[in-house]
Amino acid sequence: MTSEAVPAGGDPRRLLADARDLARRVRLAQRVTWLPLLMLALVTFGAIPVYRFGHEVLSDCQAASDGQVCRVWLRDAQFYWWTALMLAYVVIAAGYLRVARARGLGTRVLPYVLTGVAFVVLSAGVTAALLILGDPYYPNVPPASVQFLLRLLDPAGAIGLALLGSAGFALAQRLRRPR
């Protein structure tokens, strides 16, 4: 037997369990998992004709042993990804707000939108810097580490980074919740 006082509000374990259960139900009601997946599919399929019919900018062509080496900038594809990503983020955020509101809830979308916009801006900044300053390794292939970094900031890589950022935000939110 213990001398602990029993609080008037009820068993603390029960109160905490109830709070956790209510928080879980809110998260389930806020969830619209199909919407980001649908947007990702639409954006990816939309890229197919852009790559097929889009314009490539060739410059600085130099003769090589087996032909020519040129700088290639997939201009249309690059602009497509930046625009499509921004639009996708806005549509996903608006969709989440709309669905949550219809269910009688609010939801936090601003950090997700800011994460996406930040990665698009970063990706555009790196591309602009490479265009203005030029590729210091050209006409040779950059080292693997540099290639990895450039791939990471490619639009497709930026999607992955944005997803990781969103997952990090979701984890931080989860840690703030009653447990």
Binding site: P7, D18, A23, R25, V26, Q30, G104, G106
Partner: protein
């Protein structure tokens, strides 16, 4: 007359029992539920709260009145089309009160578990 030395003086250095810090406004099943939902959702509609907490409208209004009077929630009335809607938002004080209540509940559980283990 008893010797004052025989009466054990309260130990002022010992940590206070978690129960002493419980806030009666928050330490109540329904009101804790309202704060938890509002914290999780940022903003919640009256009807959602009524359904999830299985309360009548009048009962929920009373609890919301207590929380609003304590400055823990903000109640806004508006319209969605022709339907009237009431939205409840957690204030900064409400957020702090919820965090404090959760911390005290955890302390209480830890204390009871420690006492049971001895």
């Amino acid at each position: 007359m008893t010797d004052p030395v025989d009466t054990p003086a309260p130990d002022e250095t010992a940590p206070a029992h978690p129960v002493t810090g419980l806030d009666d406004v928050v330490h109540q099943r329904v009101r804790l539920g309202i704060l938890t939902i509002a914290h999780e959702a940022r903003r919640v509609e009256f009807v959602y709260l009524r359904t999830q907490l299985e309360l009548t409208g009048g009962n929920l209004s009373q609890h919301l009145g207590v929380l609003e009077a304590a400055g823990l929630v903000q109640v806004e009335k508006g319209y969605a089309g022709r339907r009237g809607r009431t939205w409840i938002t957690l204030t900064a004080a409400g957020d702090a009160a919820l965090a404090a209540e959760i911390a005290r509940l955890k302390q209480l559980i830890a204390r009871v578990e420690t006492a049971n283990g001895q």
